[in-house]
């Protein structure tokens, strides 16, 4: 086994790039920062691929399971006598896989942005923030303990905030960044309380000891309960709350559609491929704990995932902003991943859901990034996000068209593209564990195909809209990533995940379950067909359907009014009914009592000053009366 200490460079290089690009941001030519950022990240990508190769394929012959390796760690701070926080690197199947995913997508985004963001005033700032994000995300996935993960979790949140509000002169972008940060912060509060509880029970933050199936935590659990439910279930559910926020699960999903205010490469990197899957990664990281100690929490994970995927898919069918369609699509696909984890077992074949979830994470990252970058190319060409203002673009944007089509076929689960393999395995895992959820996801597969091809046909087919300037294909820097990701979407389905990434590290073989595979392809094709009929040529069918089903249409179009609920709670309740009264109370009650004390003192002083009348005789009177009284008192006490 080689020495993996070099992996410390993987998060370190982007951090140095961030500092470098951030501090020199005004001083060097913008284009240079793009080159430096991209070059630095390509080094990191090469290192990650090398690590993956060494880890997965260069082991001693006969080694059974993939074990966890910790090439580096150092004490960061002592919290209590027992708990101390270490910073380090953990290499195991999922972290190495994530290294590959993150660096690949990040590199594609870096290259793409050289074309997309060209000429933008904040170009250097953009690349600095991209490096910050890459550093944070890489640090998150290689975290050997839950505290380090929390640290980088927050850093990822801030990078996301900075990038969403990148166009900071637009109020909507600023507001979207704020919303994203606050919603995820709220979720992070749950995460923090979960970590507090978990670390109190177990006395450690370390993943290896927490998730060791023979370790103390799993074998003995805890006797602590709160309101009748085991403290460990509480802890893990709260931790999932944190994951649900980052992964935009219902009801903490409201920030994701608004996050589309950021530049499209950002949407591709953060809000499609990497940050949003952090929640899935978190559950996967703690999976043995969930499975053995808190299966109820796992059920919650599955149902939340399932519900979210259906919810988001329905909304995606009516949205007109192409980025928002893709955002809801991301939510839906992450729901798949969560569901797959939720229904999974542990160990070998039972861990099918786990493997499928990770597999889908991998393929989804590729094709979703492709979809977003393609959307960016479209927006770059026609200067609008609204699909009603587009049409017939296949003539003008050939490369974008083909790659986008490949991605749509992938997400719809059509073989031999990768989406088919990963989605199918999720469906099989659901089929074997929870029939209800299986049917939900089956339906969602069809809806997915429908809305994706609705998007495709509306943009590339249909009536050729008259454009102000003729749309032209994107420059080389933008189309090359599209092509690379398209190849990834086509061929990553053949990676033998069952040998590499499984719930307990041991490989297993998968037999195709034709009774699931064939219907899944069929429903995908049905969705495509329906979209073909509705949207390939300009027809009146969609509008007629919208008017006949006006109520469901309105609910879907308005995202089920969840945003309005949140706005009500935050504005009317928190701001008006809590914050304002507190401020009023402070000024008019607490402060007023102080002022009142001063007023009373002044009043007393006013009264007493009357004694100082300047009248000689009054003074004399007081003096004499005092003497007389004292004399009498003296005499009285002397003779008694």
């Amino acid at each position: 086994m080689i020495d993996f200490s070099f992996t410390i460079l993987i998060p370190l290089i982007p951090f140095i790039l961030f500092l470098l690009l951030g501090l020199t941001s005004g001083k060097m030519k913008p284009v240079l920062s793009g080159y430096i950022g991209t070059l630095g990240l390509s080094v990191v990508t090469v290192l990650s691929y090398f690590t993956a190769y060494q880890y997965f394929f260069n082991r001693e012959a006969g080694a059974g399971v993939f074990e966890k390796i910790i090439p580096f760690h150092t004490v960061w701070i002592h919290l209590t006598e027992k708990l101390h926080v270490d910073l380090g690197i953990l290499l195991d199947p999922i972290s190495v896989m994530m290294l590959v995913v993150i660096t690949t997508v990040s590199l594609m985004v870096h290259i793409y942005s050289m074309g997309y963001m060209k000429g933008d005033k904040g170009y250097s700032r953009f690349y600095a923030f991209l490096s910050l994000f890459s550093f944070s995300m890489l640090g998150l996935v290689v975290a050997p303990n839950i505290f380090q993960m929390y640290i980088f979790w927050e850093l990822v949140g801030v990078s996301s905030y900075l990038l969403i509000s990148y166009y900071y002169e637009k109020p909507s972008a600023v507001s979207a960044g704020k919303k994203a940060f606050i919603v995820t912060r709220f979720a992070d509060l749950g995460f923090l309380v979960g970590i507090l509880t978990l670390s109190y029970i177990s006395g450690t933050f370390d993943f290896v000891s927490l998730t060791d199936p023979q370790g103390a935590l799993i074998t003995q659990g805890t006797s602590l309960t709160f309101m009748g439910i085991s403290a460990l279930t509480w802890a893990l559910t709260l931790i999932f709350m944190g994951g649900a926020g980052k992964s935009a699960m219902f009801p903490l999903h409201i920030w994701l559609p608004d996050a589309m205010e950021g530049p499209t490469p950002v949407s591709a990197l953060i809000h499609a491929a990497t940050m949003v899957v952090a929640g899935v990664y978190l559950v996967a990281r703690l999976f043995p704990l969930y499975y053995f100690v808190a299966p109820d929490a796992l059920t919650i994970v599955a149902y939340v995932g399932g519900f979210t995927s259906l919810f988001a898919a329905v909304i995606a069918c009516t949205q007109t902003d192409i980025k928002r369609v893709l955002a809801f699509s991301t939510m839906s696909q992450i729901g798949y991943m969560m569901l797959a984890l939720g229904v999974s077992g542990y160990g070998g074949e039972h861990g099918l859901g786990y493997m499928a979830s990770m597999f889908h994470l991998f393929t989804h990252a590729m094709f979703k990034a492709l979809l977003f970058l393609g959307a960016g190319a479209i927006i770059h060409a026609v200067h609008t996000n609204n699909m009603n203002e587009m049409g017939g673009l296949r003539k003008y944007l050939p490369i974008t068209h083909i790659t986008f089509l490949i991605a749509c076929l992938t997400i719809s689960g059509i073989p031999p593209f990768s989406g088919f393999f990963s989605k199918d395995e999720i469906l099989v895992a659901a089929f074997e564990s929870n029939r209800f959820l299986f049917f939900v996801e089956y339906a969602v597969a069809g809806i997915t195909a429908f809305y994706m091809f609705r998007l495709y046909f509306n943009v590339f087919w249909g009536k050729s809209t008259h454009y102000h300037h003729t749309p032209h294909e994107s420059p080389f820097t933008m189309t090359v990533p599209l092509m690379v990701l398209a190849l990834a979407s086509m061929f990553t389905g053949f990676i033998p995940f069952t040998d590499l990434v499984t719930s307990n590290g041991e490989a297993f073989t998968l037999h195709t379950n034709w009774s699931v595979a064939i219907p899944s392809v069929l429903i995908g094709m049905a969705g495509i067909a329906l979209a073909w009929v509705f949207y390939k040529k300009e027809t009146a069918i969609p509008d007629q359907l919208a008017t006949t089903l006006s109520s469901p249409y309105k609910w879907s179009f308005n995202k089920f009014y969840i945003d309005e609920v949140y706005l009500f709670v935050t504005k009317k309740i928190i701001f008006d009914r809590v914050s304002e009264p507190i401020a009023w109370f402070d000024r008019h009650v607490v402060d007023a009592s102080m002022n009142r004390i001063a007023w009373v003192t002044n009043l007393a002083s006013d009264q007493i000053k009357g004694l100082q009348s300047g009248q000689l005789q009054k003074y004399g009177f007081v003096f004499i009366s005092g003497v007389i009284i004292l004399t009498f008192a003296f005499v009285y006490f002397l003779f008694n």
């Binding site: 100082q612 000689l616 005789q617």
Partner: protein
């Protein structure tokens, strides 16, 4: 002959003078009248001292000496008081004690 007058008669007289003096001090408006009342008080104390000395300690003379002191001090004090009254008159153009109240709050 003096020995047939009880001590208490003298004390009553001096007490009456004392309180008349106090009354005058507290109620009169004219500064000079107030000064006269103060003189009354001082004289009443004189009578007290002499009476006690004569009746209770006839062999000693401290009371008489004290009485002489008081007369001397009263004279000096009257001189100072009149000087002050003259200054007050120059400042306020009247010597009504109720007008002299600039030292109030």
């Amino acid at each position: 002959m003096l020995s047939e007058i009880p001590l208490s008669y003298f004390l009553v007289v001096s007490t009456l003078m004392f309180f008349i003096g106090i009354y005058g001090f507290l109620t009169r408006r004219n500064l000079i009248t107030i000064l006269m009342a103060v003189e009354l008080i001082l004289n009443s104390v004189n009578i007290n001292f002499v009476a006690f000395n004569r009746y209770l300690f006839p062999d000693q003379l401290e009371g008489h000496f004290f009485s002489l002191f008081i007369i001397a001090v009263a004279a000096a004090e009257a001189a100072v008081a009149i000087a002050i009254i003259i200054s007050v008159y120059r400042r306020y153009s009247n010597i009504d004690v109720e007008r002299v109240d600039t030292m109030k709050f």
